[in-house]
Symmetry: C2
Subunit: 178 residues, 2 copies
């Protein structure tokens, strides 16, 4: 019963690519006028805080084409309709850094891009890790960067880590593990 | 000289709407193969942490159509080519909550959506606020929600605040002002 709510009047798919699904809706505003909202429909994603066997955090480094630069990140991956969040988290962890988790705990849910995307992200703490052989994501080039938690926190406050899911995941890890 | 870099081979604009500017580039991957990258070009944005005259933080509540829900946020707004970041921060603060800032300090830069957008956000701490009469953004329906900093931090850790720029801004405010 919100006075701020916007109500859909009509909807139109603008573009469906391999990654992006772009929509344009006509909406009724709270004052009865109408406007348009353009946004991305996203399947959602999981973010994983991997606590490696030596206690370091399994950060990764990868090139992010939209930004035109490498970014230091936590492993993450898009949800797959056929999988639970937990299964996706375990799979992405193994695909991206080659570890299986004995324990995966949901930490929080965040919304990265509420102005133009419906993406939701669920952050998981991954513990009791065991190395596996598989590290074989197609089309992804990733370097594992094991980092002491205190150093990762310092990289947040110094501005060296700028990716939002990674900032929030590291600060949560500090809260939970410190 | 990064081994992870992806190089543009060609570029194509997919859609230019009122808000979204969607591109699809063909890229060369580090292994010499090619792939496609779809992404949003975004002008960038400022986020403002308003410290109200009574010391509370000027959070706002607004309906976010892509999410289908109200969100608790810090004031923010897109950059305008003709303005400096600082001018945009001051203007958006006044437009969204009706205060002028005597002091605006850049806190950090964050990247909300590196998988499919080039958006950069600059967070500013706004202090020495004075109320003005103007609160007149067209097409925006916003409720001011003055909140004690400690309560805002609790809303982050309890999961009540899920918007990433707001989570990070509040934790920075706690670090700077606590």
């Amino acid at each position: 019963m919100s006075s701020l709510k916007e109500t859909r009047l009509s909807t139109e798919r603008i573009y469906k690519g391999r990654l992006l699904d772009v929509w344009k809706d006509k909406v009724e505003l709270p004052d009865g006028k109408s406007s348009y909202r353009e946004f991305i429909k996203h399947p959602g994603a999981v973010v994983i805080i991997p606590v490696l066997p030596d206690g370091k955090i399994g950060l990764i480094r990868q090139y992010r084409y939209p930004m035109g630069m490498e970014q230091i990140e936590l492993p993450a991956g898009k949800l797959d309709e056929s999988e639970s969040h937990l299964v996706t988290a375990g799979r992405e962890l193994e695909e991206e850094i080659g570890y299986k988790a004995g324990s995966l705990t949901e930490v929080t849910e965040i919304h990265p891009c509420i102005g133009y995307s419906d993406e939701r992200m669920w952050i998981y703490l991954a513990e009791q890790l065991e190395v596996t052989k598989t590290n074989t994501d197609q089309d992804e080039f990733i370097e594992l960067m094991p980092t002491e938690l205190e150093e990762a926190v310092e990289m947040v406050w110094s501005g060296k880590i700028t990716d939002v899911k990674t900032i929030i995941g590291i600060l949560w890890a500090h809260r939970l593990l410190h």
